[in-house]
Amino acid sequence: MLRPRIIPCLLIQDGGLVKTVKFKDPKYVGDPINAVKIFNEKEADELIVIDIDATAHGVEPNYTQIAKLAAECRMPLCYGGGIRTALQAKKIIQLGVEKVAISSAALENPQLVTQIAEEIGSQSVVVVLDHKSRLLSKHQEVWTHNGTRNTKRSVLEVAQELEKLGAGEIVLNSIENDGKMKGYDLDLAAKLRAAVHIPITILGGGGSLEDMASVVKTCGVVGVAAGSFFVFKGAYRAVLISYPSAQQKDDIIYSALRAR
């Protein structure tokens, strides 16, 4: 049985690990390499690492840091941040990263998805769609540049277009739910699952294993990602990196799949 993927999503700023709320107020939570070592020990399904400065500041990906992360990482790694060309994507794959994530650049130049897919294969091209709705609207639109620019385009429409162009996976990332730990946007997740034929991962709002199980109950075998849930503990958000045990995943997440 193919299993749902439970994925820590780590944000990097100035070389350090941070966690945001609604894409704002980054709080320093530690050293990325140290976090990777802990997730190795816990046997995490996969890791997503996003450099939130690279795109916003228009700088090159930090290849030295990516190489260190890839060498340390004993699970599949998806890296995003600052990738604007197929050449950059290829270079990152050669450093030992399994998948590259693009966001702003894919929205500005959708052909880039095709170019990258031709270079490294569709299976390694991940598109991250940061989304939120406008005031008094339920319509979810795609935002870029770390949630500062609204493309005014429907998230489902963009997902379908980029799938056709060669994306191998869509990561749906709710700006409104980021850091809130109050649950995922299940409605949008279900709509995305029905709209595309590639793997999807849902991110934004995960606060418990039960929240993650709800995504699996709604969508079946998908990726379920979270940030805060894996780096904070308790009401005062003390920094403590954790990951569920194989038994916990089986009891709560896989059982939700079996019950579908």
Binding site: M1, L2, R3, P4, R5, N40, E43, D45, E46, A70, A71, C73, R74, M75, P76, I93, Q94, G96, E98, K99, I120, G121, S122, Q123, S124, G168, E169, V196, H197, I198, P199, I200, V221, G223
Partner: protein, 204 residues
């Protein structure tokens, strides 16, 4: 000495790291001369089938590899696309494969009734070994590995199937023909399951 074939595809460093942690001597070959002294070979690979064959040709290592594997019977383990190019051909490309394990590589998409299957097949799936394949020696029943692919190996002879997995259909996720081994999944990214498999290969 385990030698990892670096022809520009795949995560070479991940294999080096696994073997260093196991204290098993490991080397990386980028030229035919560097294949000298190899007692085991690992052939990684990601991306498209034809591209992998072209890169292997361009590396200048192909004919030495063929001698080592086919004449000297040095055990070789192909990984992901490195496994697929062991076949005779692939629906993904037009170039012939190495032909070390008879079979062809097929697309999940070309299988009737599987048109709604999300592709690529991405994530952790169960792997059931067949017979007493040495790669899976000492494995618990629920061995699972990380997969990332849209094409699968279709063996011409059932006796070359070493392990099966299920995604839409049952497919050979590991193959073996004599000294030639191949796995579709990524042992280098499959935690203790993958370490166990790579250790078994080293101890063949």
């Amino acid at each position: 000495m385990i030698t990892i074939i670096d022809y520009g595809l795949g995560n070479i460093q991940a294999f080096v790291n696994v073997y260093r942690r196991l204290h098993i001597p490991v080397a990386v070959a980028q030229t035919a001369a560097q294949l000298d002294g190899a007692t085991k070979l690992i052939l990684p690979g990601v991306g498209a089938f034809d591209h992998a064959i072209e890169r292997l040709d361009a590396s200048g290592m192909r004919s030495t590899l063929e001698t080592l594997v086919q004449e000297h019977k040095v055990p070789v383990l192909g990984i992901c696309v490195g496994m697929q190019i062991l076949a005779n051909s692939s629906e993904e490309g037009s170039l012939p494969g190495l032909g070390w394990v008879p079979g062809c590589v097929r697309s999940f998409k070309s299988v009737p009734d599987l048109t709604d299957l999300p592709l690529p097949h991405m994530g952790w799936n169960d792997v059931a070994s067949l017979g007493d394949n040495a790669l899976f020696k000492g494995f618990e029943e629920e061995a699972r590995f990380y997969f990332l692919h849209s094409f699968f190996f279709d063996c011409e002879h059932v006796q070359h199937r070493a392990a099966m997995s299920s995604y839409g259909l049952e497919f050979s996720c590991a193959v073996q023909a004599g000294n030639v081994y191949g796995v579709q999944f990524h042992p280098e990214k499959s935690h203790h399951f993958g370490v166990g498999l790579l250790k078994n290969f080293a101890e063949l």
